[in-house]
Symmetry: C2
Subunit: 563 residues, 2 copies
Amino acid sequence: MSTFLRVDMTNLKVVLEDSPPEYEWLGGRGLTARILNREVPPTSHPLGKHNKIIFAPGLLGGSHFPSSGRLSVGFKSPLTQGIKETNAGGTAAGKLGRLGIKAIILEGQPADTKLYLLKVTKDGATILPADDLAGLTNYATVNKLRQAHGKDVAVISIGAPGEMKMSTATVACTDMDGRPARHAARGGPGAVMGSKRIKAVIIDDTGTKPVGAKNAEALRNLVKEYAKFLDESKGAGLTRAYGTLGGLAWVSDYNHSLPVRNFTSGQFEGASKIGSKSAVAALISQGSKWSHPCMPGCILHCSNVVVDREGRYVTSGLEYETGAMLGANLGIDDIYAIATMGGLSDDYGLDTVEVGATLGLAVDAGLMKFGDSARAMALINEIGQGTTLGRILGQGVAVTARAFGISRVPVVKGQAIPAHDPRVENATGVTYCTSAMGADHTAALVLKRKTTPAEAVEASRQTQINVAIVDSLGLCSNAIMFVAFPMERVTEIFNAQYGSNLSYEDMQEMAKEVLKDERAFNLKAGFAPSADRLPEYCKEEPYPPSNLVFDVPDSEIDSFWDF
Amino acid sequence: MSTFLRVDMTNLKVVLEDSPPEYEWLGGRGLTARILNREVPPTSHPLGKHNKIIFAPGLLGGSHFPSSGRLSVGFKSPLTQGIKETNAGGTAAGKLGRLGIKAIILEGQPADTKLYLLKVTKDGATILPADDLAGLTNYATVNKLRQAHGKDVAVISIGAPGEMKMSTATVACTDMDGRPARHAARGGPGAVMGSKRIKAVIIDDTGTKPVGAKNAEALRNLVKEYAKFLDESKGAGLTRAYGTLGGLAWVSDYNHSLPVRNFTSGQFEGASKIGSKSAVAALISQGSKWSHPCMPGCILHCSNVVVDREGRYVTSGLEYETGAMLGANLGIDDIYAIATMGGLSDDYGLDTVEVGATLGLAVDAGLMKFGDSARAMALINEIGQGTTLGRILGQGVAVTARAFGISRVPVVKGQAIPAHDPRVENATGVTYCTSAMGADHTAALVLKRKTTPAEAVEASRQTQINVAIVDSLGLCSNAIMFVAFPMERVTEIFNAQYGSNLSYEDMQEMAKEVLKDERAFNLKAGFAPSADRLPEYCKEEPYPPSNLVFDVPDSEIDSFWDF
């Protein structure tokens, strides 16, 4: 019941193999990191035959615990040239868990340029032709596949940007409504999937059941405890009511760490219009739905379904990152325009964080003006359609900066700085520097500024360790860490499921190995420790209104790895 | 008489300062590496205010020794993100030597977008407005400046690609005929000069004289000995008669290491038409001139002046690299078309090696067909004019590969593999891996394949050391190393000029420090030793007709630095 599904795209063959015993307690992010370290030459080309893309549910995938259905997608990134794990909600991971599949490993490369599907059921897996899906968007792809394969399948798909091997291309996962709205977005997983010529993976778990816990009663009690915790937590209540988007005005007006107009200000005069309690209330009053789960069993419900003023579906969900990167960072305060851009990005399969940062640079390049949502949408369409300009923008911030000779570039290790400015959030800044993923808030977000550099490093380190635990279990970081459910209790969830008796310290040691695995890959892929740096403007250009700069010294950053 | 001319572009101020005593025996490449290490933060943005671009004659610049007028241009490269030195012939370095200027250091960045000139005379230096030169090509720029400042000045200039900060943009130096035909080409020096908003440097050495040797008689004797050596050397005779281009057919038909059609073959059926004794004889019979010097005092005369069938000037000179990269590598066997592309690249200020490799990839991207010189020329015009497509191609091989999702990329550390395939020339391959410059044949070219990996590493190491000596003296590598003038005698040239008593071993130790300086910068700029690798196709794809692959193991490559 614990297998690797190895898909050899060179020979178009699928093999089910027992996962090695030493991988028993590796899942999700930790598992992808270990496999990549063992199987992918670190200097190989991300779009070449030696790279692999791995889809792995976490160690709790398919279990009875809520919010345990994150799907980890691991690969060598064409965006960063380093190791990458990015994860998404939706229904795929839970189904893989129930199917007993610990990882799907896509490897090799077909000699021809045909497109393929991979279909996975309890009876095995098959590779099917998919040339009829070439160039289709995610929604069009998923609609066709659900018609052909049933409405209850999970689909992991790419749009045209993935086929064109753009580094902003995501891997989309269907949600409970069958919408390809949950994205493993960062680092170009869509490009790597495209390089394997797989348009979509269809997962049909008909005839399976949830993975039972070794200590079922203990797990049941933990589920109850977790539900009670959420009900009693003020933070969880706010998240449930307003989603992540509802907090945007707080990031702007109190934390001052929002990205505004290409990272030139931490406060946006339009914040309350695009991300506040009142903005959410207005959307709801016009037909949008809040408190929507992105995966089965979720009881936090931090997502949403947004419809336009005529009630037509636009996107699910509209998150803080989209509001920040496609809204504030572009000087756009029209929430419906932002939602439309988010939906467009979902449909093409584009990382809204990388695209938002790239369009910020497009202003520098004279390609658009701040606040011009029509032009921003036109540029997203250029990417989706692969025009010559779209080929530049579709490769993200670093390539766009190269093409237009721009020297102020919000990027670390090739990946755009996301929606939390490191000048204010200094521990998040340490994360951007040190994470093997490049600038990535999901590797460890610490909203509140730390007083000293040493505290910033320590906060980033402890948070990165906790995130590595959560990502390896397949738990939702939002549903656990953002609401501050205690990590000691998370350890007990693992113990209940696996019948083990690990301590939180044991879990942390395992998580440290994950971080070290990721770091080891990058050191062998050409990155020196001196690559762990923010762009110089973050150290020199004060960020209004706090007017802070990032002031963690290089030596302090390097001390991150002393563990 | 040994000064740094420090040009602060932030405040538009020029300061002449004494060069520190410990820099006495540092010149050319070695000097630029030391200054960059001391003054430029290795992680700074190449196009930002912290980068510097340094123009330095070699230690023999301005002396009486022939072929000692190479100008070293040092900077952090926007192409590789690492340290870079690229050097050119022409008249600039000799004039700087006679002016007693050891280095011009351009630093800072103006707040506005105006363009400037730097004019250097024996009375000092001034910054002048140059907005009237915006967008002009090198020939147009130089024509205007020679009209305004006299025909005897040397001009160092950039074309529009430099202003647009393209990584293929060169720095052009005028030759003895006042033509901007000698280029410090690789790594994007034109982009860095453009980022400083300097369109051209004008050097007027009126009222100066050559730098006398401490032991003038010894130097006179060495000049005589060198002249006799060239006259008696068969290799020098061939080079003098046919230039570097004349050897192209040998590289193709005997060495099998020519780049043909995007590095898919080492032998070109059109080789004799574009680079052979008979091809050169045909050009000469139609009015072109061979045995032309590129700098004052040269007695090797390996360059040329090519005219079209109507006798109109096309380029000076047409070198092996241009024939290989814009000819064979694009499947083009029309020598006049190649010369025209070379002249066009001179005029725009584009690196023919990087551009040739990039157009090879353009075939992969479906943008042109092999053999279509009209389309190749159109694409060079797209670069020169900065169209959207030109913005991609103008950033070189690595960015073009990103934009079009290409995974077979002839590149090391961001710089295109030049006109010697490393699968055949394995020691040159070790140079491509280990040189801090990225793939660069000028760092150590070893034409003949070595029998074992250890021999390949040793040959690359010894040659890199010798090249570092020659580049630091400002000697022409072609005029010394290619004709195999003994390095012990080169040491004596230095001793005669400086009144010193160094041994060749001493010189080698100094050269090793140069290599280590360069390496140190890169290690601090984010490059791990694992970045010293060729692309995977070089190890896997046999190169016809020899069908060799690059087979120096990684551990052997890493042993390069054991000195």
